[in-house]
Subunit: 280 residues, 2 copies
């Protein structure tokens, strides 16, 4: 498992790095970013995984997420992967739409051609990248948290719900809470997994909770001026699923906030403090 | 003096706006951004002007500057203009180089053709934009500070030194302190102002200080891993000019930091606190 350093920059009393490697999960080169606060030699730090939304690479949150100051203060490593495989030979949406294909991997293992060859973001985020990060960065893998935005909020919730032993803390910014119940999800899960919806449930946070998956608690922030709120995001479905299941959830509607990094960056420090309390 | 709203987004308990207007100074359309923290109706807030460096528009600091949280905390309005005129008919560097022409106005009023027609960034920043902002935003023009990065640090220092009554606080990130004494400056001032260096002094912070200009104090942060430190930025020239003149200067060399927004964003909150102390 080798990787290559694309860049490192000193920032906020730590090192912001960008790295790339040949991924066996996706069969492509994958790029990710890691922020490591200064720390005593030999010590290991808790890690928060941040999964990005549609159209993003690692770069969007790395540029606009405003996570470094608070990560340095709290002593948290912050990892930001890409959102899909990329490169020659990687299939895209037939119309190159923003909501499927490149930049829109939805954190699933695709079963449908021509996507099954490379779109294996579930394996990448659940297996390959954690192993690579654990082997090469000073992370305490017993103290992991996960968060994400929109499609990445969907990724964070579903990955944590399927792997409750791995994560001590889970939060999301404006997540897609039930791809089974929104147009983005219909297109993505239909395209990657096929029309048999039985296979969709493991990629639907509400369905996972309804099926018995549990986490200690969840934090979700959602802007009430978000253009995607009503048709795609539907936090009320997550609230209902959590209420019915007795799953603890803090859902905060944020007045006036939209779906952009202006929203994410505003509540990033809150989320990281919340993770730090649970990661110890 | 009319202007048009390009976008507004709620962020960090305030409003981040982007605006454009037909500039009489440059004869072009100009775009700028303004962050206004929430405030009591009818109150006016101090304002800090941020001048960007080579290649930038208003967007770089607006995306990456990490100023909103601290501006909201301190109650400061933050204005970020563009770095040059743009659009059809605006002359560029003959080779489209990054260090002259578009994105590189150097905050001067050009006297040389073909630049004199539009490259009037001094008038724009000193006269036209302040009048527009004062008329349309809740700014207390008796409480203005100015800062900037690299070419914009040069802009901030020279504009403040020429207008000491306007600014209560002046700082800079990795500024060009003496364009008369570096390649970027030779190219820019030669190209915009011509070869007669007598006309350059009013655009050279060190020369202005040597010529008697004074400010209450100056704060400058400079990364010691900045690729442009030795050949272009030369903070030792500013230190020497200030020492010789008795001009108060806090010059902080920041170990390991480079010339990027990773550096700027790290020290942005420090600078804004420093401005707030002086703006009241």
């Amino acid at each position: 498992m080798t990787f290559e350093t694309v860049s490192t920059n000193r920032s906020h009393g730590g090192t912001q790095g960008v790295y790339k490697h040949a991924s066996s999960a996706t069969g492509t080169e994958m790029t990710f970013s890691v922020f490591v606060p200064d720390h005593a030699p030999g010590t290991k730090l808790p890690v928060v995984w941040y999964l990005s939304g549609l159209t993003c690479t690692h770069a969007n949150v790395t540029d606009k997420g405003e996570f470094r100051a608070i990560c340095a203060e709290l002593g948290i490593i912050f990892v930001a992967p890409d959102t899909s495989p990329r490169g020659e030979g990687v299939a895209d949406d037939a119309d190159a739409a923003y909501d499927f294909g490149l930049g829109a991997g939805f954190y699933v293992n695709a079963t449908q051609e021509p996507f099954a060859a490379h779109y294996r973001m579930r394996d990448y985020i659940e297996q390959e990248l954690p192993a690579l990060v654990a082997a090469n960065f000073p992370v305490d893998m017993a103290r992991q948290g996960i968060t994400g935005h929109s499609m990445g909020g969907h990724g964070a919730l579903t990955i944590a719900l399927r792997n409750p032993d791995r994560f001590k803390s889970t939060s999301a910014f404006a997540p897609i809470v039930s791809p089974t119940n929104c147009p983005w999800g219909h297109k993505a899960l239909g395209g990657y997994l096929g029309d048999d919806r039985a296979g969709w449930a493991e990629y639907d946070a509400c369905a996972l909770i309804e099926g018995g998956a549990r986490l200690p608690d969840l934090l979700v922030d959602q802007g009430d001026a978000d253009n995607f709120l009503v048709e795609q995001l539907k936090p009320e479905l997550l609230q209902a699923a959590c209420d019915a299941a007795g799953q603890k959830l803090t859902l905060r509607m944020q007045p006036g906030y939209d779906h952009s990094y202006y929203f994410i960056s505003t509540f990033m420090a809150d989320h990281l403090r919340w993770h730090a309390e649970r990661l110890g």
